[in-house]
Each structure stands twice: as structure tokens, then as C-alpha cells.
């Protein structure tokens, strides 16, 4: 399929052919979570598409208003549940902007390291599930094998595979253990080889090419109008990446390229994400090489818990600890919007502080929520099979869409 079927309804040969409305319901093997699509079909061609969301709405933003700043971190992790480190970074970065706290260099590099590992993790989950949707079922097992290696690294450093609450306001909660660096380096060296193997399976597979080349094309201008960001925008030819645009964490010191596509079809999106995995592995290696010595969390006891060894000797530390754990730190009134580059696009966090120990409003600008608006443009006037391919390549995570 090298051309899209772009026959507008008014010019279709048999204009009063029957339109059938099909509900691709919240429970469907291909909808990547609980997304409901109400699709008007004419034969096999999609004429109108209405996504209905909200089936996993958890009220996280409202719950956050009830908790002290520190306790919000596990909540916001669980929004976009595949890229949890990014949510932690967006929130902690926003609060650090609010209280004007500088994080030490080691923490910056550690955060960058874990963010890039999470990016590889997110893209692996995407690749496994999307290939599963398109029929390349064995890709799921290969991708999850690598994913388990990343989760082993997370477990080694943070104690838990998913939802690790590793980033804290001021840095990270614990330093990396002995042996982590060797294991991580081995993984980062192995990753490009594995990606090469995935590409050998899919890149020139005739079925995969026919399903993805030329399907789901949306022009760059239309994507910009719709506020789409991330690999979808880069696949359409726009080299917009927040890691290069705004300097945050240790990205200015890293040497990496951002892959940019040309046509903006599903095949370009696939290639862009796969290339991003290789670039992320390079960033991981560079972080390990350049990891500076020093404290892993800021020193300001008003906002950061003191180390436990001090609690038995210093009265002040005990008082700080007590205040931080029971009430939490207070933040002067103000508001800040801080955004980072998530595997799906621009993840922004808006925090409004009103002077108390609890945030007055925490809002996340989730990339999947905004990117989903482009789905209609991708799928209308194409076959329903192309719609499934586009949905896979769009990479929505419904936890982030519904929050």
C-alpha cells in the first residue's frame, strides 16, 4: 500500500452506501489500554472517528492537592505508567524551580541516566506491543527480554521494578550500588546489537512494510497546529526535541543526535523510535563515563531529608527530619510550568503553590492526551487495518491520557 486512500466522502462512487458505526470498545486487543473508538465505517474505509477516553481516569491531580509535596511523587509516577521516571522528573523539576533549589551534579547525571534507561524501556514496550498488533508476534518476547534487563537494573538501584519513586526534590533518594555500573555498561553495549536484530526482523519484512509505508500520513504543519510533539513530530520532519532546545539536567553535556524522518508515515515513526533507542544507549554510556563524584541529593535540610546516620548525633537533623516527614516543607506562593521530553512528546508539569505544605494545583500536560487529537487525521479515509497500525505507531498510554 504505497498510497493512501484519500477519497473524500462526497466524491465516493456510491454516495449513499451504508455507514456502519462500530465500537472499538474500551476492551479490545489492539487499543493499548482502555481507549474507546467509535468508528463510522463505509465498507472497510474509516469515514469518521471519535475517540472516547476517561475509562482509567484516576483523579490523580485532585489527590495531589491533598498530600504534601513529597508524597505527591508516587502519585504522579502512576500517570503514564510506562515512563514513570519522566513524570517524577517533571514534578521534581517543577518543585525545584519553585523553591529555587540547585541539585548537585551527580544527581543530574544519575537522573539523566535513569531517564534514558526509561526511554529505552518505553520504546521497547511500544515496539513489542505494536509489532504484536501488526502480526509480528515474536517481537513481543524479544523486546520484553531486554525490558527485563532494564527492570533488573532498576531493581538493583531503586529497589523496585516499576514505580520506583527514585527521584526526590533535590536529587535522587539513594546512590547507585556497587556493581550497577558494570551491569549497566554491559547492557548499553549490548543494546545496539539487539536493536540491529529487531531491525533485521522488521525493517525489510514485506508485510510490515506494506502495512506501515505510506499509511497514517499527517503533514508537519497540521501536526504543529494540533500541538503534537515527540517522535510523531520528528517523523514528519520537524527537528523539535526539548532535550536539545531547553537545557535541563545533564543533556547539554551529552553528545547525541535526534533522528528525524521525512515523510511522516508510520514507517518513519517506527524508524525514528528505533533510532532513538540506539541514541539513548549512547547517552547511558556517556553518563556512566562522566558520572561525577559527590553528593546525590542537595544539602538544604529545609527541603531534603538528612542522612540517617546524622539523626543519632545531631538534634537539628532530628527536628528537620520530623518536620519534613510529618508536615513537609512549605513553598512560597507561586506557580511554575516545567516541561521535559518524554518518549511520547512534551511532558509538562504545572505546580501552583499557595504557601502551605501541600500544592494547590498539580497539572500534567500529557503528550498522549494531545497526540490523540492527531489520530483522527491519521485514520480518516484509510482502511481500518491502517487505523490499527496508526494507533500502534501513535503510542498512546491511556494512563497519561486520562490521568
Amino acid at each position: 500500500m504505497t498510497e493512501q486512500i484519500a477519497v473524500p466522502f462526497e466524491q465516493a462512487p456510491d454516495r449513499d452506501r451504508e455507514i456502519m458505526t462500530v465500537n472499538v470498545g474500551p476492551h479490545h486487543p489492539a487499543t493499548h489500554g482502555v481507549l474507546r473508538l467509535v468508528v463510522d465505517l463505509e465498507g472497510e474505509i474509516v469515514r469518521e472517528l471519535r475517540p472516547v477516553i476517561g475509562y482509567v481516569h484516576t483523579g490523580i491531580e485532585k489527590s495531589c492537592e491533598d498530600k504534601s509535596y513529597w508524597k505527591v511523587i508516587p502519585f504522579v509516577e502512576r500517570m503514564d505508567y510506562v515512563s514513570y521516571f519522566f513524570q517524577m522528573e517533571a514534578y521534581c523539576g517543577a518543585v525545584e524551580r519553585l523553591i529555587d533549589l540547585e541539585i548537585p551534579p551527580r544527581a543530574r547525571y544519575l537522573r539523566t541516566l535513569f531517564l534514558e534507561l526509561n526511554r529505552i524501556h518505553s520504546h521497547l514496550v511500544w515496539l513489542g506491543t505494536t509489532a504484536l498488533d501488526l502480526g509480528a508476534i515474536s517481537m513481543l518476547w524479544y523486546c520484553f527480554r531486554e525490558r527485563d534487563k532494564i527492570l533488573d537494573l532498576f531493581e538493583m538501584a531503586c529497589g523496585q521494578r516499576m514505580h520506583t519513586r527514585y527521584f526526590q526534590v533535590g536529587g535522587v533518594i539513594e546512590d547507585i550500588p556497587v556493581g550497577f555500573e558494570a551491569k549497566c555498561r554491559a547492557f548499553a553495549e549490548e543494546m545496539p546489537i539487539r536493536v540491529g536484530q529487531y531491525q533485521a526482523l522488521l525493517d525489510r519484512n514485506e508485510v510490515f512494510l506494506q502495512r506501515t509505508k505510506g499509511t497514517g500520513v499527517v503533514s508537519r504543519e497540521r501536526l504543529l497546529e494540533l500541538g503534537v510533539s515527540g517522535p510523531l513530530l520528528r517523523a514528519a520532519g520537524e527537528p523539535w526535541d526539548l532535550r536539545k532546545a531547553f537545557d535541563y539536567l545533564a543533556y547539554p553535556e551529552m553528545d547525541f543526535k535526534i533522528p528525524v524522518g521525512t515523510v511522516g508515515d508510520n514507517y518513519d515513526r517506527y524508524r525514528v523510535r528505533v533510532a532513538e533507542m540506539v541514541e539513548s544507549a549512547r547517552i547511558v554510556e556517556q553518563c556512566l563515563d562522566a558520572l561525577p563524584e559527590g553528593p546525590f541529593i542537595a544539602d538544604d535540610r529545609k527541603y531534603v531529608l538528612p542522612p540517617r546516620s546524622e539523626l543519632s548525633t545531631s538534634m537539628e537533623s532530628l527536628i528537620h527530619h520530623f518536620k519534613l516527614v510529618t508536615e513537609g516543607f512549605r513553598v512560597d506562593p507561586g506557580e511554575v510550568y516545567y516541561s521535559i521530553e518524554c518518549p511520547r512528546g512534551e511532558l509538562g508539569c504545572f505546580v501552583l503553590a499557595d504557601g502551605s505544605a501541600k500544592p494547590a494545583r498539580v497539572h500534567f500536560r500529557d503528550p498522549s492526551f494531545v497526540n490523540l487529537q492527531a489520530f483522527r487525521d491519521m485514520a480518516v479515509d484509510t482502511y481500518i487495518a491502517d487505523m490499527i497500525a496508526s494507533l500502534g505507531m501513535l503510542d498512546p498510554i491511556l494512563g497519561g491520557v486520562d490521568r
Binding site: D66, L224, G227, G334, Y337, E346, F350, H363, V370
Partner: protein, 172 residues
């Protein structure tokens, strides 16, 4: 990010084209914000988007906040980005609560920024702010027949009290 003098210059230029639109400016924690009269917010957004020197043509986020107990109570925030100069600017429109059963209203900017469609629906769903001119202003995340505006500060968080075996007299 336009710095503080740059922000004042932008305000001055907007004054020439849309008089009395910008009520105040705020440069807090290295973030530039224009506080705008809600009736003229679409004009200001259009100016920022189309003016040759400004070109803030990417609406990164549209969200709202409830400043209870301060008045005016609601604020709709528009985060704009200029991708060529890599600068952000925020436009804030403060809305007061009309009182009684009425809902606060503001013009929709869907014609300028099509990305605002879903985001304005979300603001309507959570705060009850009506966007005039929106093609399909219905609830997006809550069920369609839900009553109440969940994200307002006076809406309770909800949930139910946890029961323990030793402390409850009955269990169903």
C-alpha cells in the same frame, strides 16, 4: 524566555494594537507571564501568534487553576512556545465566579490553535469554565452524566473511610 525588560516591551507593543488587554505582567522564577483581560484573550493570543517579531505559534498547554480563596477565582493559562528562538511565554486570563448557577465564560481559541480542542474540554470538565465557540464542549474524562466540577477547590476529594475489623460494629 523573554527576560523582564523584553516582557515589558512585548506589553508595550500589545498596548498599541489591543489596548487595555494586558492587565499586568509577571516575571517570577524566570518565567514570563502576561495577565490578560478574559474578554480580549483571543486577540492577545492571535497577536502573539501572528506578529512578525513574536511568532509564538505553538500552544504547548492550556490549563486552568483555582485560586480559591483569592479573587478572581479561576485562571486559564496558555503556555506558548516560539520554536525558532526557543522561548516560552505564558498568558493568564483571570475569571471571576459569576455566582449562583452560572458558569464562568471565556472565548475559545480553537480557531487559532486546533490543539486547544481537547484541552478546553478538559478544563470544562474539571472546572466548569465554558468556552464560547468551541465545536463540541462536552465532558471528556468524567462520565457524561456526572454532576459537579471535580477540580475546583471546594469539591471534596472523595473516597471512603477505611474500615478495620476491630473498630467497626458491622460489616456488610
Amino acid at each position: 524566555m523573554p527576560d523582564a525588560p523584553g516582557l515589558e516591551l512585548i506589553r508595550g507593543e500589545i498596548e498599541r494594537d489591543c489596548p487595555d488587554a494586558v492587565l499586568a505582567t509577571s516575571f517570577d522564577r524566570a518565567q514570563a507571564a502576561l495577565i490578560v483581560d478574559p474578554e480580549k484573550v483571543v486577540a492577545v493570543l492571535g497577536w502573539l501568534k501572528d506578529q512578525p517579531g513574536q511568532r509564538y505559534d505553538f500552544l504547548s498547554s492550556l490549563h486552568a487553576a483555582d485560586y480559591l480563596p483569592n479573587e478572581p477565582r479561576f485562571a486559564v493559562h496558555y503556555e506558548l512556545i516560539n520554536r525558532d528562538r526557543v522561548e516560552r511565554i505564558r498568558v493568564k486570563a483571570m475569571l471571576a465566579e459569576p455566582g449562583g448557577e452560572e458558569l464562568p465564560e471565556i472565548d475559545s481559541c480553537v480557531d487559532l490553535f486546533p490543539t486547544a480542542e481537547a484541552q478546553e474540554r478538559e478544563v470544562f470538565d474539571f472546572f466548569g469554565i465554558v468556552f464560547r465557540g468551541h465545536p463540541n464542549l462536552t465532558r471528556i474524562l468524567m462520565p457524561d452524566d456526572y454532576v459537579g466540577w471535580p477540580q475546583r477547590r471546594d469539591f471534596p476529594v472523595g473516597g471512603e473511610p477505611v474500615t478495620f475489623t476491630y473498630s467497626e460494629q458491622r460489616f456488610d
